[in-house]
Structures are given as structure tokens and as C-alpha cells.
Symmetry: D3
Subunit: 247 residues, 6 copies
Amino acid sequence: MKLAELTWPEVEALSREIVVLIPTGSCEQHGPHLPVFTDSILATAVAEGAEARIPDRVLMTPTLWLGASGHHLAFAGTLSASMDTYMGALTSVISSLQRHGFRKFFIINGHGGNNEPNGVALRQIKEQLPALMIGHSGYYGPVAEETADVLEGPFKEIRHACEAEASLMMHIRPDLVRKDKLRDDGLAPEPAVYGMIHLFDEMTEEGSLGYATLGMPAKGKAIFDAAVAALVKQLTALHEGYVLRGF
Amino acid sequence: MKLAELTWPEVEALSREIVVLIPTGSCEQHGPHLPVFTDSILATAVAEGAEARIPDRVLMTPTLWLGASGHHLAFAGTLSASMDTYMGALTSVISSLQRHGFRKFFIINGHGGNNEPNGVALRQIKEQLPALMIGHSGYYGPVAEETADVLEGPFKEIRHACEAEASLMMHIRPDLVRKDKLRDDGLAPEPAVYGMIHLFDEMTEEGSLGYATLGMPAKGKAIFDAAVAALVKQLTALHEGYVLRGF
Amino acid sequence: MKLAELTWPEVEALSREIVVLIPTGSCEQHGPHLPVFTDSILATAVAEGAEARIPDRVLMTPTLWLGASGHHLAFAGTLSASMDTYMGALTSVISSLQRHGFRKFFIINGHGGNNEPNGVALRQIKEQLPALMIGHSGYYGPVAEETADVLEGPFKEIRHACEAEASLMMHIRPDLVRKDKLRDDGLAPEPAVYGMIHLFDEMTEEGSLGYATLGMPAKGKAIFDAAVAALVKQLTALHEGYVLRGF
Amino acid sequence: MKLAELTWPEVEALSREIVVLIPTGSCEQHGPHLPVFTDSILATAVAEGAEARIPDRVLMTPTLWLGASGHHLAFAGTLSASMDTYMGALTSVISSLQRHGFRKFFIINGHGGNNEPNGVALRQIKEQLPALMIGHSGYYGPVAEETADVLEGPFKEIRHACEAEASLMMHIRPDLVRKDKLRDDGLAPEPAVYGMIHLFDEMTEEGSLGYATLGMPAKGKAIFDAAVAALVKQLTALHEGYVLRGF
Amino acid sequence: MKLAELTWPEVEALSREIVVLIPTGSCEQHGPHLPVFTDSILATAVAEGAEARIPDRVLMTPTLWLGASGHHLAFAGTLSASMDTYMGALTSVISSLQRHGFRKFFIINGHGGNNEPNGVALRQIKEQLPALMIGHSGYYGPVAEETADVLEGPFKEIRHACEAEASLMMHIRPDLVRKDKLRDDGLAPEPAVYGMIHLFDEMTEEGSLGYATLGMPAKGKAIFDAAVAALVKQLTALHEGYVLRGF
Amino acid sequence: MKLAELTWPEVEALSREIVVLIPTGSCEQHGPHLPVFTDSILATAVAEGAEARIPDRVLMTPTLWLGASGHHLAFAGTLSASMDTYMGALTSVISSLQRHGFRKFFIINGHGGNNEPNGVALRQIKEQLPALMIGHSGYYGPVAEETADVLEGPFKEIRHACEAEASLMMHIRPDLVRKDKLRDDGLAPEPAVYGMIHLFDEMTEEGSLGYATLGMPAKGKAIFDAAVAALVKQLTALHEGYVLRGF
């Protein structure tokens, strides 16, 4: 079910075993070849793909598209929520719906920069409301293997406006890909320093990180289908319920 | 221009005389006949209508759909941001884009409950960044007269899930109107008490306020066209610039 | 009753049907002819006028004189609370007294810039404590008609340090009006742009907005008497109780 | 000078060597014999006394009467600001006036419970704006000796609604003292435990702490005159300027 | 008992009459002769001294060493928490342990700058959780007399990196005292101005305040032993319980 | 260098190429066999190990031991900072030292629950102060391979109070290990659900997660030595400087 299209008595009538699915994205620079809404488009598409397959098990909310994108702000058109605002939005959605009796939540994320604030916000909610069952993941998280299989460039995982994201956009919204601007960027070998915090204008020349020139629709389709399948499996497991200790 | 579809170099290349247009809506109960996304759908439609007519003067952002809807939370499916989060989101969008040099902003609002926090947030921004030109209004604000002309019920202005909003939805998204559930509600005459703060479950039986049974697509079209025209005029005036003292 | 003058056992003994009346004002520039405390003086005077007529129905608190006046800060002597502090003060007063069992509150406001934060703060309180009955209004709100009748200049409503406020001060505190400095200011016709956020140093030359040179004590008395009468009526209605649905 | 009564051009014209004097008080229970506004009345009276003697050296603001009184909230009629709101109000006043070029501030406090938040708030301001000269004190602080001389009961310092405060109110506002309700309370000998945080409903029976039955106008006058004299001396020293290192 | 060394079942097994002892210190400049951790070292040493003598009555937590030291930030190596963070840490410790059923808390403080935020934070906690018994004091507070007896310089109380603190460090951690750098500083006579807020770079030349050249281990031992004895007495009284009214 | 032991002139004299090393830990339940300070003890030990080998390249601060441990609060003795307080402490340390000119920071973390708030806080700092070089990692992060080699139980990575942590404590602080209480817990196979947020009382019986009964000092030594070596390498790389683009 898509929450946006329901009336309140229809929501009221839903089973509380249904899993609330909340897509989180961003509106941030994705190099010269992908639109700023890329992460939101992809997270929404994966969520819609799963909702379409098991609509009775899922209550999908609109996408929280205003992400935590401070590391991209040097590039025009990037909109970034403050961390407090970003976490507040996610918290507001969950606390609204738990008031209506919903107990199962899953956040499907399209922007790596949201991972940490998602974790912080969800842990705070869980500590306040321990009865809720809450999970979160990048749509790309559970399909790391499938993604590595598909990618041809040296980077075998999703980076930013890279081979994988370009491929996904070629599959989902090919009209928005500037094919003549596809660009490899941020390719410098990693130094012998780990765990560093970086801004994208420190790491790249035009904002992307990876081998976007290798993007192909078929690669996008493979990753997308795997991501939808993984999410369907996750939502089904949550819907059917699971107990953690003693199962 | 629609920001979501642009790349960052395309945003970078825009004139800074362009007016950033930010739609604000809600995801809140609209009675048994309209979907919870009504306000967001309508604000977005008016904004897109204006953007389509003067695309070179407008940079339209995605809709801030998570509104300040605490007074509707008793009804299932309502999502409400805390006031801080709501104001933080609006502030984040403007402060991101002013960093990129944009100076003209207009917020087109579809949810009455956002008016006050919009005002508070924008005044705080203006005090910090006095060089910005910032305006805000409900899409229905400047067309009060046209709306009154069109409405047949006793209420001559937009209320909530009322004759006007039902008509607008019949014009914009007729597929989402539950025509068999149209309902008049919240019709009690006003008591001799003004300025009271109310929750919608105090004022109505099923959440709507007004004469939705009188909704008609043609009324919606009339209000919509007037709202788009008014917004185009406003954005054009802002784009061309105006000075306040001594003009 | 005036809270400030009572002892706690006297407060404890009051009926909880009594309406708590909270005046809100400002300490902000009012042009070269009116003192910075004008809004606080006027809101307090109207509140005292009502309390004097129906003391048993009203528990009047001291005036929250530190208003939300950021748009006046360019002028010396303006004191402005941050929005959080302003809203926090109003919230603190109400939450203190609701702990003592009071349930009915009315805020009588003397400063237009407080309207929006009053609304935001009161809505937050109402959402937390739905059993409270809370209203708010400018003292000038319910007497718009009487005010328009009295004013001779082109502006038919209260602006700032204008014909109306100058008249009111001539009636209430004539000793504080600099009659030799009365000044018309901010008179420029409105541009074809609505809903703009402005600072007073953008709109005026010396801080006032309207035709203060037309101020007269008799006009002030007429507006003041009407405002007191309207407030008495409002407080009486609240004291006697009213139900919203089904009355 | 009293800020409340000035116009902005008059404030603008003041010397920036003038000392801004900010009274802080409370609206909190003071036993069955003194009104809830006692602290605000006394701090204001001392401030006005000093301002009257050296008006050209002092710019007195209205009294911040909403104090940090959470420890009195068990008694009806007590209004308490949250700590954030209380500190925010003081910060807002100083930051407003420092924008207008004022550099010297003194807070004269009438409520012991404000001492710590005054200290915290002022230190934060000083760290942000090191060029400001800021001081604060209870009006009773520098006259501890004179107070001890005057008091006849076993407590030789100001407590709460005690011999000293009752005496001061008999001198300043005798009409507000309930002479038939004067009461000694909270007289238990101190246990062998220091530094404990207590609520007033833990320590007293009816809210006062000390020997109010010993209150006399002449004692109040002696303390008051000493407090005004001490404040005049302080403000004069600040006005004339002093350097800390190497003087 | 030292909390740090216990397992959770051991903590669970403790009597809830035990007093939680929380040392608060700082990491801030202490002149050229004492290390930046001086306050934390001393508060910890006093706490450990008391815990060693009555381990069954005390549950000592690790030291909150990140103090409120903004007034020392001009000197390199000073770490200062914001006031909110400082108070939040203390609040977090107490609210964690009260969840586990502990009701008696005492904060032993080694840094004067923590006194006010300790008071503000603890009052907020007490207002929220009135059943808790909470006290706080500098370790030097109850031994003012013993300290005055011991000190030979003109200052008869603890200042900063002074005769007393140098002596204490010579007793507790002589290896960390730079004996060749001992220095008298900040000795200027007080001006006729009281209650002023100062930064240490305004008051001193090299950061210390007092006669450190007079420091001697024996003086430190005398103060330290008295401080431990006083704390033991306090903790014992709290452990045995005391009632405030009617004891 | 250990900051705690330095005087401010000694800190002032340091090269600003030095890397500030900040250990972060926790005070939280670690099952019936390890003390609540385990994470802080281990992070501190690793940091001290690195500092001892390259003291001139490192300025080690005291350990931020109050971690984000809300998911352990059901177990007595766990102290948890609120997320705001936890992030505020880390921010305060860095912002204090950057004021003194230090530019290179590395956080060595001993508690998995701190990873996300560390990331959020450091990203906020980096966005405000882009010139800083900031990194963070668990001490166990870069030695995942060495750890897997050493562990004999089914879990090949650090969990909580597990084979690895028990071994490390047997190496570092054997006196604090309750060898008779070593326990395997939380061993249930993972369900087909990923990314779930859990409290430790949902996942375990007595708080530990993993095969602590397999703990051995030699395993601890191997992991510890590898962790120290990895950190030394990291700090050296940061000290020598590296450029991200074009190196």
C-alpha cells in the first residue's frame, strides 16, 4: 500500500502486522552526468518495486528526500538537511505512525551519507519504544555480491555517481542520464590512511567517484532486480514476525 | 527548471536572478474522501503549473511534504514533523542554496498548519541573511476572491478536505477522490470565542471541515488556474526584482 | 485577579474555571515618537482593563514583554528574544499553571511579530495537553471594524507606531508620546509582490509604518474601549465554558 | 535612563559608556504572607533606586521577572521558566544591546535560584564576546554585613520570604504584605549534610524559610538603602571603567 | 566500590542505599607549573580516598574530566565542554543509574567553573525526579577553614594553580609538578567592582591565580586529609539517610 | 605526548603537525565476566601503546569514556550518554584544540555503539572546519584479518564481551576478568532479517555476545599488538601528511 494515496479510514483498517517502509534519499550533486535527485529516485524505485510485489505486507511512505549531504555542499544544487533535521524527520514519521499502532518499520536508504544518522536516530527511537521492530539498510547493502559480479571497473561496490549508479539510472530513468557527460572521477588509489572524513570536493574533480563511463542499462537492471528481491524477502520476514531469542 | 532533474553544473550555470520555488505540503488525514497526500499534491501541482509557464524564471525544488500536522495526529496515517524539524527542513533548503549564490526564494504552501512555522522559520533566516528576498503564501491566499466566487456552500474560503479541496483534487487527481465517501463535516456554527487552538478530533467527526459534497471538477479548475496565474505573476515580479523603499 | 499580587494559598483557592490571561508585548523601536515599550504598555492596559471589569473570571499574569522582534533589531534599544526563547517563555507560563490545575488560557498580544510564534508555541502545548482550552489574539484583532471606522489615514488597520498606536498611547500614556516627533513613514504603495518577509529598516526610514501624525487621544480611547469590551466578552465566554462539537 | 520609556533615537544617542542594568526576579510562591512577585518587586525597586540616583550612568531595562523557580513549582501560582528559556532571555537582552554598541552590563538579581543560571548564561556570553564587561550579583550580596546587623532572628542572611524579605516588602510595598499571615517556617536545624539540592516542599510546610514574624519596615529600609548604595557604587565603578591587569 | 571495575551482576547486587559518588574535574591550563589534568587528578584522588575508607557505602563512577572551562580556552591544551554538553554528561550518568534503582548521589567537584553548571543540571534532575537525594560540593568547600589555616600567602582560599593546588599536587602527584616553573600570578588587588565575569587571560599573565611559589607537600597533605575526612562524613550521612522535615 | 600530563606552555610549544589522538570508550555491561569499563580500558590501552612508540607524533587526550550505550541500559551499571551529549563531548574536544591550532585528529574507538555518532559528529565538524584532517576507527577495524586468524569460535570478528574482548582483557587487565564467570551467550543463528536495531536484553541472556569461554591471553596479545601496530602506522601517515587529490 502507498500511504500517500490512502484515506485515513483505510489506514486505520490496515493490519498492524504490516511493515512500514520508509525510503530515504538525497538531493545532492551526482557529477556532471546524473541528476541531483538520483539517490531519491533509486531508493523510491526499489521501494516501489517491493511494494508492487507484496502490497498487502507493506505500507510505503513518501520518500524522505532531503538527506544528510553536507559533504557535497560545495557543489551547486546540493540540498542538505542539518543532522538534527534529518534525524528529526525520520523520527517524526515513525513516532507518528507508532501512535496509530504500527510496530514494524524498515528504512530503505539510497544515500550512503544517511547511514550513520539513520542508525543514530533509529537507536534513539528503539531505546524510547523498545516494542518497535525497526530495521534499516542501503538498498545496495544486501546485494553486494550481485553488484560485484556485475561491475566491470576496478571498484566492485557502489560509490557515488559511479558505474553502478549510472547503470541503475540508465535502467530506471534513462531520460535523466547525460550520456555525453559520463565521467570517471575520484579514482586515486587510497593512501595508507583509513577512516578519514572527506568532503567530495577534496576527493573528486567533478563530484563523482567511480567509473561511470562503464554504466550500462543491463547492469542496472541486474542490480535493481536483486535489490527488489532482497527487500521483498526482508519485508516478508518482518511481516511474518520473528523472535530474536530462542527461535 | 526542476532542480531534481538537473545536474550540478547545470545548476551552477543558472542566473542568480532565478526564483527558487519551494512547495510545502503535508501528509495528513483529509477525511474519508481525500488521500492523506492531498495538500502536497495540490501545492506541487500549482508549483509545477507555474514552473511550466515560466521555466527560465523558476528553480523549483522537490516538495517538502512532511508538514506540521500535530492537530491531525488523532487520525491514522497522519505524519507530522515536530515544529523544529519542520522549520529545520525549510531552513536547510534555503541555507543550502544561498551558499550557491541564490538570493530569491518563494515558498508556496498547501497546508494551513504550515503558515505559522513557515513565517517563524523564514523570519529567522531573513534576520541572519538580510540580503535574501524571501516570500511565502498559501497557493489559495492570493485567490481568495476567485475561490469565494466559485464556492456554493456557506463557507466561502478553503477549509480542510472541503468543497474547494475536493474540487481541486477532482481536477488534478480525480483517481484519488473517493466520490462515494464525500462528506460534509465540522459545520457547527462558530461559538462566540475567537482565536482558539483546536485539534481536528475536537472539531469534526471524520476529519474534514466543510462541504465536500459540493465538490466539482470545474470549480477545482477555476481555483487552480487562478492560483497558477497568481503564482506566475508573483514569481515574475520577484524575478524582475523590486525595491522596497523609494520605488 | 492579578497573579503578581496574590500569595500561593490565594491562588490555590481559586476556581479552576478561571481564565488565565497572559499579555504578550515587546520592547522594540516604535519610531521617533513612541517609546520602545509601546506594545507591552498597550497589551497590559487592555488586559488590565478587562481584569478590572471581571476580576473573578480572570487570573492575569505579568506581561511577557520580551517579544520576537528580530525585524526591528537594526534600531537601537530594540530587545528581541530568539524564537526559541520567546516560545519557551509562553510555554513555561502555561505549563507551570496547568500543573496547578488551571485549564483555560488566553493570550492577549500587543505585537504583530508575536502572532506566529504564539501560534506555534500554543499548538505544541495543545498537542501535548489536549484537555487545555487555549486561545490567542492581538488585542486589535476582534476590533478591526471599530478601528477602521476611527482611522482617518489611508491605512485602515493597525500597522506599527501608526495612527492607531499613536492614538492609543495618547489615551493610555500621553506622557510618553513625543508629540513633536510624530511622523508618517513606510508609506510606499505595496509592490505587486505578496507575502514577503521584511525587516523594518528595509521598509521605513525611521521605523514607523503609517500615519502617526493623525494620532488623537479620542481615537485611542475608542479603539481601547472596544478592545477591552471584546476581551471581556471573550474571557466571559471561555469562563462559562463552551463545547466545540454538538453545541 | 529607563529603556522602556525611551525612543530608539534617544537610545541611539546615549554614550556607550553607560551601564546596562538588568533586573532579574521571579514569580514564585513566597509563603502565605508575601505575594508571588516579591523577588521581582524587590530587584526592580533596588534597580530603580540606583537609576534614580545616577540616571546618566545607567540604562535600566525592564525586569526579567520569569525566573528559574522549578523548586517552588509544588506551590500554586509559581511560574518557572525552563533553564534554557531563563538563560535564553538574559542572553537575548544582552545580545540585542551589544549589537547596538553597548558594552557594559550588570545584572541585579532578586531570586537566589537565578544565581547559577545567570552565571552559566553570562559566562557563555563572555566567551563569545570577550570585549563585553559583564557583572552580576544578588541585590543582597554586597550588603550581607548590613543585613546581618539588622536581622534579629537566628538566620543572619536572606533566605526566602523571611525576616529580611518581609521587612523589605513592608518598606517597599506594605500593601502587599499579609501581616496576619506572617509565619516562621523551614526552621529545622541543618543536618550534617552539605550541598544538597532540595525542593521547597521538602524543606518547609508553607513555603517560607526563616523568621518572617520578625519583619519590620525599618529593617527593610536599612537593607534597601544599603543595597541601593552598593549598587550605585558598583555601577559608577563600571561606568568609569576599570582595567583588570596592571591597574 | 569502583563502578569501572565491577560487572553488571555485581552492580545489580548492590544495596540501593549506597551513595553514587561522581567526581567532576577539568582538563584546563594550570599555569606553567601544573599539568592540565590537575583538577581531575585532585577530585579523583579525594573521591578514591573516601571510597577506600568506606567502600561498602560508596559506588564511585569514573571521573567526568571534561569540564566547563571556556574561560581558560585562550591557553593551549585547555579542553572545554560546551555548557550543554557538560550538563548533559552529568545528567546522563545520574539518569542511567536511577534507572537501575540508585537514589543517592553526590558530586565531588575539583573545578570551580563546574559549580554553577553542576547546580543547574542537578536542579533540573531533582525537579524531574524528586525522590532522588542529590548533593554536590567542591572537595575544597567543606574544608575552607582547614585550608585557611594551612596557607601562608595572602589568599586564604583555593584559587587556581595556587598555593593550595600546588601543594595538593606535590602531595598527590609530585612527579607532575614543574617545581622550577612555580609562579605567583594574578595577584592584583581586586577593584571596587564585584561579581564580574572574567576570562583567565584577562586576569593573569601565565594562567595561574595565587601564590604557587609557597606550595609545599605537607600543606597539600593537610588539605587532602581534611577533604577526604569531610567527604567520608558526608557520604556516611547520606548513606545512613536523613529526612529533611521534622528530623 | 599525553595531554593530561602537560602544562599549557608545553602544549603551546608542540608542532601543529602532531596528531591529536582521542580514545572513545564506554562504561557499559560486558556480561558477568568482564567489567563495565572494558571498552574504555581497551581503547585506552591501544592508544597508550601507540603513543609510547611514537610519542613525538601523537598528542593523546584523556579517554572519552562515557559512550553511547543506550542499548545496554537494561543492565545495571551501564552509563549511557544521550546521543547529543556523546557527540557534544567529541565535538568539544576537537573544537577546543583546533582553536589552539591543531589540525590533525584521529579517534580510536573501543565501543561499536560509538561508531555512528562518531561519524555524525565528525562529519559536522569537518563541514564547519574543512581544513581539519580527521579520521576515526575502531581499534579492531584495521585488524579484522589478524583477529579472524586468532579466533577459534564460530564468530570470526569482535562482538561484545566475546572471545576477542575476553582475550584482550586477559592480556591487558587479567585482574579484572572473572574467569569463573566466562560465558557464551547471544549465539542464536541470525534470522533472515538484516539491519535490525536491537537492544542487548533482546539478544542475549546475560549481556555478552560470543564465545567468551574461548578467551585466552595469547589471543589477546596477538590482537592487541596488531591493533597498536596498525594505529602507529595510521598516525605516522597522518603525521607525515598526505594529500588526497593528485598524490
